[in-house]
Amino acid sequence: MIRKITYGIFLGIIVLSLVLFFVAFPFGKNKMAVGKYYLKNDIKQTGAANVVTAVTLDYRGFDTLGEVTVLFAAAAGVAILFYVLEEDKKKRERQVYPNFIVRVGSRIIFPFILLFGSYIFIHGHLTPGGGFQGGSIIASGFLLLYLAYPGERVNRNKLSIVEGLAGITFAGLGLWGLFTQGNSFLFNFLPKGQLNMIFSAGILPIIYIAIGFKVASEFAGIVDDMMCEAVCSGGEK
């Protein structure tokens, strides 16, 4: 009963805020305050064709660094929680191996997933997409390998080396801009180049590639942690 009353109160708040939203933020009107500035000065200041990339990595680059840290903390948390877990005493039921089409088919599709993920995060400043999307696409490729070949694991040491290098690249580029060139963190010190070419927008593509590697290795690590018990125990063939 108390739960239903609580839910009723919340529902009232939600309906009230819906009405307030209709009044305060009319749908489809131009309500930009900072957005206008970003749109006007984007080409001159950053040289990236995709304004969302410019906002994420340049104007708000420091927030993105913090957010990558949150991602790292979550991955580490999952690893720690599964590490302290004692081994399941229950007898594991028999494992069924995937069929022929899944095995051979995913072996052929996996290289294309890697190539497509790289395409997404290399072109992050020209087309939609970027490090976050490309990284999670590559992590899905590793998930596919786990599904098709139970019993094989990715190399965790290589994964953490990639992760560390990507993080160092991101922070190092930011500090380099802070200490040598202008006096702001993540200062864009490389030449801007020509709009819509792949070598443009200064350091933004490099940072997005680093973020792509970092996100890919974090998510691959999470998938590895979560599937470990189900996969590592082997099975019969």
């Binding site: 039921e93 028999r94 494992q95 069924v96 191996y97 995937p98 899944v102 599709i109 294309f112 997933i113 497509f116 997404i120 087309t127 939609p128 997409g129 999307q133 696409i137 899905s140 998930l143 596919l144 599904l147 139970p150 599937m227 189900a230 996969v231």
Partner: protein, 85 residues
């Protein structure tokens, strides 16, 4: 021109409704998963169609992501049903 696009959209919308009906009514899990599969394929076609409507070439990239990744979701569930993993 616009009327032709509208007719296309209406035919495809009926497909979406039927797929959702199969997801609601499916007697067991595998039938629901087929509903998801059909819904995904229809959505890939719709992504490319709306890229045409909005006249932006770059929107097709989103359809590429679904075209390459959608089958992994179905594969996960199929392996679960088989007691695989």
């Amino acid at each position: 021109m616009s009327i032709l696009n509208w007719i296309y959209l209406i035919i495809v919308s009926v497909g979406i409704i039927l797929a959702v009906v199969r997801m609601i009514a499916g007697p067991d899990l595998t039938n629901r998963v087929i509903g998801l599969d059909v819904l995904t394929t229809i959505t890939i076609a719709l992504f490319v169609f709306f890229a045409m409507i909005f006249q932006r070439y770059i929107y097709i990239d989103v359809a590429l992501v679904y075209g390459l990744l959608a089958f992994i979701g179905v594969l996960v569930i199929a392996r679960f049903i088989e007691r695989g993993f």
